[in-house]
């Protein structure tokens, strides 16, 4: 937490406040202890040899056949080093895959938050439509998935207490899923150097109890959800002219599209995720759906990142049955 405390406590044992952070800490301390022992061993050997075999000492220096080279000794210290390394490699890799390719939470309930980074601020939009800048309010125990993009250069979303970090790339979506486990206020840093006020691109993640978060959301006043905004934009940008189910234009129907495999004109298949939808709006000729003429115009330069995210949220919300925009 950001409040003052014992400085050593804060630095040596930084707050662990997400479902993954204590698992990362276990690995960290296991490595600190192991490597510490290795350092100790080497330093003791250095010291003992330095004293015992200092020039002029009367230590036994009888040469032996293996004094200058000993394959068994070389193998003898390589194998434990290699085995130790492989253990740490595997431990770290398993945790990493859990972090970046996470299983769905048990209750299947993930709160999706849109994140737009720009020089030098963080902009968030909650699923209820509430927006905030630099601060992000979350509920303890509630799994969150961030869908992040940048308007300019590369930034990086870093919350040390959660042990998570993900670069935020311009014109590309990256995602990050995590579950806060402690109530409190935690630092949010931009970790990738992004220019003049890089060190000012910071904020706070405020983790509250679920009722407190609901109260906070309610106090922010009436807002439209990203889906509702997206539905409006779907008509105002003219998307519905071709993509509505009753349209006479031969264009893909978007209902139930999200998350499904899409066969492309070039013979490959792509999953209809947020990046695919984004590219289809801005770079429609990049991935043309099989069986449709490539007549979609590009909206590059006409539509903001925030609006693309809203349109994506709307398209994501369209199920097979629900074919009419609300």
């Amino acid at each position: 937490m950001i409040e003052a405390g014992d400085p050593w406590q804060l630095l040596m044992f930084p707050e662990a406040a997400s479902s993954i952070s204590s698992r990362v800490d276990h690995l960290f301390w296991a490595m600190v202890v192991t490597c510490g022992l290795v350092v100790l061993l080497v330093f003791v050997l250095l010291l003992v040899f330095s004293i015992r075999y200092r020039r002029g000492s009367r230590a036994d220096r009888t040469p032996s056949a293996r004094l200058n080279s000993n394959h068994w000794l070389e193998i003898g210290w390589s194998v434990p080093v290699l085995v130790g390394f492989l253990v740490f490699f595997a431990w770290g890799a398993v945790l990493y895959l859990d972090l970046y390719d996470p299983p769905a939470p048990a209750d299947g309930n993930v709160r999706e938050i849109n994140v737009i980074a720009k020089q030098w601020m963080w902009k968030f939009q909650h699923p209820e439509g509430v927006r905030e800048i630099n601060d992000l309010h979350l509920a303890v125990g509630q799994t969150v998935r961030l869908r992040m993009t940048s308007q300019d250069v590369i930034h990086s979303f870093f919350v040390p207490a959660f042990r998570i970090k993900q670069d935020v790339l311009p014109r590309t979506y990256t995602e990050l899923q995590f579950t806060p486990t402690k109530v409190g206020r935690f630092h949010l840093f931009c970790a990738e150097y992004c220019g003049l006020q890089h060190s000012g691109m910071t904020g706070e993640v405020v983790v509250m109890s679920p009722p407190a978060l609901q109260g906070w959301l309610d106090r922010q006043g009436q807002t439209r959800t990203p889906e509702q905004d997206g539905a409006r934009l779907f008509r105002s940008y003219g998307c519905s002219g071709c993509h509505a189910p009753d349209s006479s234009v031969h264009a893909p129907n978007l209902a139930g599209l999200y998350g499904k495999p899409v066969p492309l004109a070039n013979g490959t298949t792509v999953r209809a995720d947020a990046q695919y939808i984004r590219d289809s709006i801005l770079l429609p000729s990049k991935q043309v759906a099989a069986g449709y003429p490539a007549i979609m115009p590009s909206f590059q330069g006409q539509i903001s990142e925030a609006d693309v995210l809203k349109l994506t949220a709307y398209i994501q919300s369209l199920t097979e049955q629900e074919t009419d925009p609300p």
């Binding site: 490595m31 350092v39 075999y53 020039r55 210290w77 003049l196 000012g200």
Partner: protein, 537 residues
């Protein structure tokens, strides 16, 4: 130097008094004089980069950004990185001691291509001038990593001039590398087989291979960066249809092997010092030689470990992590072998040995924390924090610069024909060791606690350790300034050095100190293995 030589009639003929005047130095083809040209230039760059570091550490004494403006701070760490990496660390040992010693160690009269050797220094200076121009003409604020699209489309600094400087200096590396490779292949004295070469030569050779193979990738990348910045042709900026992560791949494909360009020569120097001051053949010579080659080879396959949180495929991340662990094994082997060399040795603790032992300790810590950042889940926390800063300073400054100091002191009597004041050198070695640890160890803790790097202002709880770090930096500065003083002093007042003041083995110690112009009056014939400390010289 030349003034000194003229006043001293007793001085025997050597490369130092073979000619006087600026022209005899600036147009020299003698590898030993070219080494001096590099010594002087990189020392200048070292203290320039050090001055930037001093300002950085002063700014970080307090959490608020108060001493420097944010723009000035960003320029300082960029200048520090660019100058230290490309104009000090990469050329440091190869162009100075490598240039001076390679022909001597091989029993040759000069490099294979003396003119190319001189040209590479002029190219180096040209690159340096471009980069210094960038500093004067508006500065550069991209960091030494030049990440796109910031560097191509957003930065207001003199990116093109700085990138051009780095592009040019790359050719200097390539020319030096080619020269070293050919010299090692073609100029070895009779009897000097590959497995009789000093490990210093193996290290220079492997380094040269990396220079020749990796540097062109950096050159191409910088050209692409320049094209995008100057003409707006989209290569890396997604707004122009490019891919910023592609830049990261290309940049690290050079810049990771570049770490080994810095490190391998250091390992070579330390091997020479440990063997000499333990008065014993290096333990596991062949393992040491092959581990140098293994590090050079594996070093090309690990660049993706700089990108675990960049959005590259997580499975690529897993592969790069595994390869990064594997590249650490030969490094670990080398540390064990140096320790084993001490066993049953006749150990002396002259200044070069103190610096070499510092290298082992600091490189051990730098290497072990390297496996922390190679561990995927830990790197997520540590990437772009002070943990990484501490890690690579332990390897490059604690390791590489300590080895540079070890080598400089070890061969100083050979290079200058003079002895330096031993006591001051030992004091300097100890100050550097203490100052270094005080500066950089706290940064590990800062990084683990989450302090991001390249921050001009930082959260209050990080201040305590930053104060320690800045205090250590002051001590470190003293440790680095001292040798500048007493080494220059020794040029005039130091006692005369004999041909072999350390009772060392190796062809360079068979010629007088300083060596004659053509090194060897007769081509030597090599009868022994390297480090034949059981044989009389």
């Amino acid at each position: 130097m030349s003034a000194l030589s003229r006043t001293d009639a007793a001085e025997p003929a050597s490369y130092l008094n073979a000619g006087y005047g600026l022209k005899s130095w600036l147009l020299t083809l003698d590898h030993k004089r070219i080494a001096w040209l590099y010594f002087i230039s990189i020392t200048g760059f070292f203290f320039l980069g050090g001055a930037a570091a001093t300002l950085i550490r002063l700014e970080l004494l307090t959490p608020a950004g108060d001493l420097l403006s944010d723009n000035a701070y960003n320029q300082m760490f960029s200048l520090h990185g660019i100058v230290m990496v490309w104009f000090f660390l990469i050329p440091s040992i190869p162009t100075t001691m490598g240039n001076f010693l390679l022909p001597l160690m091989l029993g040759a009269r000069d490099m294979a291509f003396p003119r190319l050797n001189l040209l590479s220094w002029y190219v180096f200076i040209l690159g340096g001038l471009f980069t210094l121009t960038a500093v004067v003409a508006g500065g550069i604020d991209t960091g030494w990593t030049f990440y796109t699209p910031y560097s191509t489309m957003f930065s207001n600094g003199a990116v093109l001039a700085a990138a051009t400087g780095v592009f040019i200096v790359g050719f200097s590396s390539i020319l030096t590398g080619i020269n070293f490779i050919v010299t090692t292949h073609k100029m070895r004295a009779p009897g000097l087989t590959w497995f009789r070469l000093p490990l210093f030569v193996w290290a220079q050779y492997a380094t040269s291979v990396i220079m020749v193979l990796a540097t062109p990738v950096l050159s191409v990348t910088l050209v692409l960066l320049g094209i995008e910045r100057a003409f707006g042709i989209g290569i890396f900026d997604p707004a122009l249809g490019g891919d910023p992560v592609l830049f990261e791949h290309l940049f690290w494909f050079y810049s990771h092997p570049a770490v080994y360009i810095m490190l391998l020569p250091a390992m070579g120097v330390v091997s020479e010092c440990i063997a000499c001051f333990a008065h014993k053949r290096i333990f596991g010579y062949k393992v040491m030689a092959f581990s140098i080659l293994a590090i050079a080879l594996f070093g090309f396959l690990v660049w993706g470990h700089h990108m675990f949180v960049s959005g590259q495929s997580i499975y690529a991340g897993v592969a790069f992590s595994l390869l990064s662990f594997l590249v650490s094994v030969p490094s670990a082997l080398k540390i064990f072998n140096w320790i084993a060399t001490l066993y049953k040795g006749q150990i002396r603790f002259d200044a070069p040995m103190l610096f070499a032992l510092s290298f082992i300790g600091l490189f051990l810590i730098g290497g072990l924390t390297g496996i922390f950042v190679a561990t995927l889940a830990l790197d997520v926390q540590m990437h772009d924090t002070y943990f990484v800063v501490a890690h690579f300073h332990y390897v490059m400054v604690g390791g590489m610069v300590s080895a540079y100091m070890a080598g400089l002191h070890f061969w100083w009597p050979k290079i200058t024909g003079r002895l330096y004041p031993e006591m001051w050198a030992r004091v300097s070695a100890i100050i550097v060791f203490v100052g270094f640890n005080l500066t950089f160890f706290p940064q590990y803790i800062l990084g683990w606690a989450g302090m991001p790097r390249r921050y001009h202002a930082y959260a209050d709880e990080f201040q305590l350790l930053n104060v320690f770090s800045s205090a250590g930096a002051g001590l470190l500065a003293v440790g680095y300034l001292l040798p500048l003083l007493y080494l220059i002093w020794s040029l005039r007042y130091g006692a005369r050095a004999s041909a072999n003041p350390w009772d060392a083995r190796g062809l360079e110690w068979t010629v007088s100190s300083p060596p004659p112009v053509h090194n060897f009056a007769r081509v030597p014939r090599v009868e022994h293995e390297a480090y034949a400390y059981d044989q009389p010289q």
